[in-house]
């Protein structure tokens, strides 16, 4: 149903103007243009008033509380009076350890504010003047929890730096921060259902580029997946092909040619690589680990170099940020990934020893039952 919204009103107006029998007399093209020209200022005025109303409404929601402002590198941190030391410690620690070595300038980070609060009584804070990134935790939350929150908000600002660039669009990553659990990245890389991903882990840098979707798009899918793997890809993303149920059923039933037709039809509809990202064997988290590695490896000024080359291909931007050639970057990243492999037996021996100590303690307790001392 069409309700009384501005878009709906415009549609009705357009329909009335366009309807051949609606006008009492035949209007010339010139008259129509003149008529539309008279509507443009009205539209602009309406937009201006709507925008002003939005700003007023947002300002009305602003929360005014006394706040202290801290500057940590390029970060502006807002804190409730008395919490400056904790913020300096936590935010400063994260900044120095994780970002300062390679992050020179970030337009969004410079404009955004981090509202940091780590106390028993958390308060809400918002402002219409700037973007407020909130890091909040109750007093019993661990320092690690707060640090993760700080990394998340810095990552949000950095991702916004990339958002309007081809790099951010065509090769989106999940975050710009150190991987929380490198073992998880290893797991995701191993679980990628693609022979190119496996060849990458086996040490082929060219296959890594394919698995990361860093090669030109033409025929990339055929390089990334075998026909059987393409069947898996379709099956795992079945909901995307809901508009072609018969073909989907044939594909899932084992018709590999039908799978290829489905994928070609789906991908052919999109021009930008952004809409093809779901087909890239290494997912957003694995891509984020590569970006992170490139930035850390690139050192001072890496972020600036990445932004400067973000309009080129993703590979060129990564090479510029890291200061390495594509093959060297892939080789080094693979080395890092293999080091992140979880060791399944790690800790089992000590766990068994400690478990045995607990068992002995419990036997001792069982042997000293009250009932028996009275017996």
């Amino acid at each position: 149903m069409c309700r009384l919204t501005p878009r709906c009103a415009a549609l009705v107006l357009a329909a009335v103007l366009a309807a051949p029998g609606a006008a009492p007399a035949q209007q010339t093209e010139q008259e129509l243009i003149q008529h539309l020209d008279t509507l443009v200022p009205l539209l602009k005025d309406a937009r201006r008033r709507a925008s002003a109303a939005q700003i007023t409404a947002r300002r009305a929601r602003d929360v005014h509380i006394p706040l202290d402002t801290l500057s940590i590198g390029p970060l502006t941190v807002l804190v409730v009076p008395g919490e400056g030391a904790a913020a300096q410690d936590v935010v400063g620690g994260v900044w120095e350890r994780d970002y300062a070595p390679w992050l020179d300038a970030s337009p969004n980070l410079a404009e955004d504010r981090i509202f940091f609060q780590w106390s028993a009584d958390v308060v809400e804070y918002s402002s219409s003047e700037f973007t407020v990134r909130v890091v909040q935790g109750a007093r019993w939350h661990t320092r690690g929890y707060m640090e993760t929150g700080v990394r998340q908000v810095i990552s949000q600002s950095l991702r916004e730096d990339l958002q309007r660039t081809p790099f951010g669009g065509d090769w989106a990553v999940s975050a710009v921060r150190p991987p929380d659990d490198p073992a998880l990245i290893y797991r995701q890389a191993v679980l990628a259902s693609s022979h190119s991903a496996r060849a990458c882990l086996d040490g082929d840098p060219a296959a890594c580029l394919t698995a990361f979707g860093l090669k030109p798009l033409d025929a990339l899918l055929a390089d990334q997946y075998t026909p059987e793997e393409r069947l898996l890809l379709v099956r795992r993303n079945g909901s995307l092909f809901a508009r072609a149920p018969v073909e989907l059923r044939a594909c899932v039933g084992g018709d590999l040619a039908e799978c290829d037709r489905l994928l070609a039809d789906m991908l052919g509809r999109y021009q930008s690589a952004q809409n093809r990202l779901w087909t890239v064997p290494f997912g957003a988290d694995v891509r984020a680990s590569l970006l992170w590695y490139a930035l850390v490896r690139g050192g001072e000024g890496a972020w600036g170099r990445l932004l400067a080359h973000a309009d080129e291909t993703a590979l060129a931007a990564l090479e510029a940020a890291s200061g390495l050639t594509a093959n060297t970057l892939m080789r080094e990243w693979r080395g890092w990934l293999l080091e992140s492999r979880p060791v399944r037996h790690a800790g089992l021996g000590t766990q068994v020893l400690k478990g045995s100590a607990w068992i002995l303690l419990l036997i001792a307790l069982a042997a000293r039952s009250t009932r028996w001392r009275f017996a």
């Binding site: 028993a120 109750a138 990628a192 400690k354 036997i363 069982a366 028996w372 017996a375």
Partner: protein
């Protein structure tokens, strides 16, 4: 002295233990069902992702089974004593500590029965599937974890049940009540004491139990039969 204790415990538990032994053997095999076999090509391509999904789905079942076996062993070990008001035990010419140790030892030996079944089942399961590149089977590590999880849960309940049935019930009930109302109580106390603002007692308690150096630490590791 030890043999009669073992035989007595076996008589007490065999009816309950046998289905658990069967389950311990069968669960690892069930966990790889539908993942293809060595001798034949699977009907459809199986990727590492599916293996891990399947493995992950079954992972919580193994510690649960271990805990159930441990609890069953512990409760059955004192069941007879409680029923006869400890008359038989009191008539024996052994000190209390030795009697408890013998009883515990009998239970530990019986714990090996389902653990061996589990180990066999895990090996058979691992041998029956062709693993995709990058994945490995860990039947030995899993069986060791399973055995010690059985033993730890057995020892905890054994120590509780060594008192009276009432003691066990009181302790278990207190634990449940603590779990249910502990969070609200912590919030209330937080308004009056700063310590409770900094520490969530319920979370800290359970964290301590399963985290490093806690009695249930062995439960907190990886329970995946097939992993990277």
């Amino acid at each position: 002295m030890y043999q009669p204790m073992l035989f007595l415990h076996w008589k007490q538990i065999r009816a309950a233990l046998l289905p658990l032994v069967v389950a311990a053997f069968a669960l690892p095999l069930l966990s790889v069902q539908g993942l293809g076999s060595l001798g034949s090509f699977p009907a459809e391509p199986i990727g590492a992702y599916q293996f891990m999904m399947n493995s992950g789905w079954w992972a919580p079942v193994f510690p649960t089974l271990a805990a159930v076996i441990g609890v069953t062993l512990a409760l059955s070990s004192w069941n007879w004593d409680h029923q006869l008001n400890h008359v038989y035990a009191l008539s024996l010419p052994v000190p209390r500590w030795r009697y408890a140790a013998l009883k515990m030892g009998a239970g530990v030996v019986l714990a090996f029965v389902p653990a061996l079944a589990f180990w066999g089942g895990a090996h058979l399961a691992a041998a029956s599937v062709a693993l995709p590149p990058g994945l490995h089977a860990y039947p030995n590590a899993l069986a060791v974890r399973f055995l010690f999880s059985v033993l730890v849960s057995y020892a905890v309940l054994f120590a509780m049940a060594a008192g009276t049935v009432r003691t066990t019930l009181v302790l278990v009930t207190a634990l449940f009540v603590f779990m249910l109302v502990g969070g609200s109580a912590n919030e209330f106390l937080g308004r009056h004491f700063e310590y409770f603002q900094r520490v969530n007692v319920v979370e800290a308690f359970f964290q301590t139990l399963v985290s490093r150096n806690g009695p249930f630490e062995v439960f907190s590791g990886s329970w995946l039969l097939i992993d990277v």
